[in-house]
Symmetry: D2
Subunit: 347 residues, 4 copies
């Protein structure tokens, strides 16, 4: 069997995680890795893993005729040009979320992918989480009847570095975008309207960049269901990732994962472990599975579990949420782009 | 010690519950009970309990000079006139929620109470629930730092009778009003702005009365915190009453009460009891405690745990939520009354 | 309807609890209470409750022709003579556990009850606990198939007063006797053989009286099932009362009751309440129900939920456990009495 | 850095698991694998993994001068001769449990290891389980004070194949031996005396081989603590692996691991996943860690986490339990070997 040969663009934390997960798959081989800051350290990392080519030039990876698929793990602003190039070069593409912060550009990238007939998977890793998959199975299997309310709690253990905040695209595009995808994934329906409220309660640095650190967004789905997502940049007890779908026949809910099941009972109460600390711990197995699925879909030419359109829709919702937060009113997802292009005079 | 002598107006389900709880208190005595439909059955009920006077005329109760305090458990539209009368007669008053569906009338009732110098407690029984009191203690004690997010889930096991729906005042005034009070109780802050979304997903009869059966409301508190409440008129698994307050130092959360702690493990999974079925089961002890506190505050002239103003504030929030749901935009609590009085032309 | 008139013998903590629970039942009336140390305090307690007769002489209570049923709540050494007297006087009897510490005397008391044709209920209150009843329902309903293993954890929050230890009859007769009854109740089978191990780990005072403060007893049931009970006189985190029945089709298990369901999550972990502190808190509702059932069985001449024989069997198992602990070997319940009468020379 | 070169003897399920776990460690290399039934399938398995030598002859592995350490994963009866050979050949050894079913032989094997100065780790994988490690940390850290009671529940989802039952050594040596090791691991103390009861409740085939399928064993530890272990060969709801250590300052307890945290609430109750199915699922990460630790101890010449003596002690306790079950009385661990050698006439 011919192996799927991979090129990795961007060898930061997430690029390296994908690389190590790919290396465990018998049907893949990593041929090349590029990173703007490639140096002796990356060289050593690559040679330990038998990756032959290390370069600072992503073109070299994309142009390599040996390579079947590209993992785009570089900074968000590079995603669209890289997707276009890779698509034109006939490579399958795995791209980290978000595709871009500009919906029109995302659409262009998707168009390039369509034309080239290649596969594009978006890195919504949480769809592969054991808990959330089970919740979706319950919903899809009709076990809770028609969905009425979707609730998502999503809080990080600590805020990102201040330097990152200004380029992050804001809480809705950077952090809640995962939850927007989760809302679509769990409900099996599109989001039509959002209303966002937010505040700066953790660190004034967010305000400096026109961002908030705490936010709640309500959703109206096409199927009539209602939804709510709450985000905080800082849950001191750890990564808080819970979902619930409530429907006509019941409710299905996932609570957090914890390092152990141990409880200690003393005169002070009964205490158990905090949740798994952050995304690397919580979604470790999900990262493995998303790369496996991507490779499996290429090998067996199957439909992808997360497509380019999923990236686009989440971005559209995120944009609507951002505008809602700024305008102080509900925003329809369908009107968001127009609102952005033609700043409202009346507001 | 002189006993506190009570008159009960309205001997429906909740009036009888209060009566039985009062009868267990050594410091109280029930002197009279009135009900529009008083008949032999109520007569029998009263005589079993040693209640001497049974009448169809509430005036008889209020005018009785033997009586120190009145429990108003009749229908909502009678609350304001009865409060005024009772206040003028110098009686202390316990009144079920809501005081009225018209904020201006509620204000008048409160004014009458103020002038008369009597005590008025509102029947927000959930404040006396063991779980919610503990959550509030955690918040007040600073254990979770500054509150950032208040989340309240509140779902009934089944919708009210269709006849009741049309006079209920709607989901926000009838059902979510408890949650608005809870939001103030837990956060220790006033609600400044609300945004409500709702839908009819359970029974079209709600639509016939301009009501919804499923709703989510987001809140902005004066202290900067954000909040969210979700309501459903029908959780098939039972009464779902949970709260969470998330803050700078952690989170405190109450889950449901269950009839037993028993879990059964079989080839089909691990199964435990549904939550306690409805408010009579869940808030049984809370009802006892709210009457005890009321009597204690009278006997020892202490400040009440829930005052007339608490009733008023919850009604103001409920009105704002109702308007928000109708107008499709956030509504400030401070503007709600004006919005109501001067119907918006532009909407 | 004629009321059941009650006499209470022994007005300590448990006697007063039964009295207050009886007073809530519309079909009962307490006529008299006796206590060796009856004085002004008891007088006041009784008059508050409308109990006419207060005496130091239990004979006065038993001889009272007005009285239908006697609650024996005095010290264990008085149970047998009082049961005999009450039975001869034709009164129904509720007697606290254990009936006595001498099985032959217990048998005599039961014989007197049989002859008189009165009812005798033993105060095994835990049978009325909501959790344990549910576990038994699961077993009786066949939901876990044939029982294979019965596990009971039963630990007190603190040891009794040293003065009590010497007259307590030891951990097996005083404390584990409840668990022996629970083992019979849950398994639906008789205990045939026990093996007990124990140690003094909490307070040397237990050793002074030939007692232990920590013990584990294994059981062989007539139906082939195996069982195990562990007891500690001091669980610093509170009253620990859990049971599990494991069988061919699954397992059913009850965990502790807690004052609230609240969990607080901070940097230090996730903490919830300790269990309800002790038997008065945990078995509050069970005490109410056992008296209700007793009265109901008298009023409607129904079979009792806990009979004299249940008291006897638990005492036989307790004796066997005590002997096993002393002899260092398994003891058959059927041989225990002989072992006691004819001290083994060979051991 | 020179790699640790490994030879695997016995390529059944557990041998292959160890192999795959070793292959992930950068500091190891598998040089050879032997299996009595080595054929084309094993050949293929080995070549996929780059293992050069595949043989039916374990001598070939032991004699290979390239090899630093041997994993003995063959049937129990081969362990002792292989350990002796490997030790004489100067190889470090990882051996599955039990070392043997004859304590005297186990002692001989340990003596050979001592003389040769090589390392011998026993495959008590559960010591590396995240939950049990945490319980032990709590105990070692003094968080629960002095241990008083150790409770271990250990039930398999289904019985082994009938063919295996007759050669298994019986429930105490085959299954409960893990729990005896766990008892020593958690308590930090030696077991001095055991009492075992058992029965055949699942399948009569166990009786045919003088074995039981359900057993409870109580333990007396050298430090005064008491313990109890219950085993069943068939828990229909899955692998049930729980422990608790109760002490003077509290209790620490591990419950089962589950595939997800999801709960579904319907009219039928609240249901969650059964525990992880069996040892491969539950102890997956523990298997990885035990091999890592073994290699780490070789590379850095550190003391092993589980030594030959741990294997010996668990076997001594298992023998005592087996004899106790047969003799119907408590057996001291120190007397077990003599009991076996000189069959008691008086029993």
């Amino acid at each position: 069997m011919k192996k799927i040969r991979i090129g990795i663009i961007g060898a930061g934390r997430i690029g390296k995680i994908h690389a190590d997960n790919l290396l465990r798959l018998p049907e893949t081989e990593i041929v090349a890795v590029s990173d703007l800051f490639a140096g002796p350290e990356l060289q050593a990392w690559a040679s330990e893993r038998g990756i032959a080519i290390v370069t600072t030039d992503s073109n070299e990876v994309i142009a390599n005729p040996e390579i079947d698929a590209i993992f785009i793990c570089s900074s968000t602003d590079t995603h669209v040009p890289l997707i276009k190039q890779a698509a034109e070069a006939g490579k399958h593409i795995f791209c980290e979320k978000p595709v871009s912060m500009d919906i029109r550009q995302t659409e262009e990238a998707l168009e390039a992918v369509r034309k080239a007939g290649v596969k594009l998977q978006i890195g919504f890793n949480r769809r592969f989480d054991h808990n959330f998959k089970r919740v979706r199975e319950h919903v899809q299997g009709g076990l809770i009847g028609e969905p009425h309310i979707v609730k998502i709690t999503s809080r990080d253990p600590n805020p990102p570095h201040p330097d990152y905040i200004k380029v992050s695209g804001g809480i809705f595009m950077d952090m809640m975008i995962h939850d927007f995808d989760m809302a679509r994934f769990l409900s099996g329906s599109e989001v039509e309207e959002v209303h966002a409220i937010g505040n700066v309660l953790i660190n004034p640095v967010f305000a400096e960049h026109g961002d908030v650190d705490t936010a709640i967004v309500t959703l109206r789905f096409a199927n009539g269901a209602l939804g709510v997502i709450d985000n905080s940049r800082q849950a001191v007890y750890g990564y808080d990732q819970r979902v619930e779908v409530f429907g006509s026949k019941g409710s299905t809910a996932a609570s957090n994962d914890h390092p152990t099941t141990v409880e200690i009972s003393t005169v002070d109460g009964i205490t158990r472990d905090k949740p798994l600390h952050f995304f690397l711990e919580r979604y470790n197995a999900a990262y493995v599975e998303e790369t496996q699925m991507f490779i499996d879909c290429i090998v067996n030419d199957k439909p992808l579990p997360v497509e380019g359109n999923d990236g686009l829709q989440a971005e559209r919702i995120a944009l609507a949420a951002k505008l809602s937060s700024q305008l102080g009113r509900p925003v329809k997802v369908s009107e968001a782009l127009n609102l952005l292009i033609q700043p409202l005079r009346s507001e």
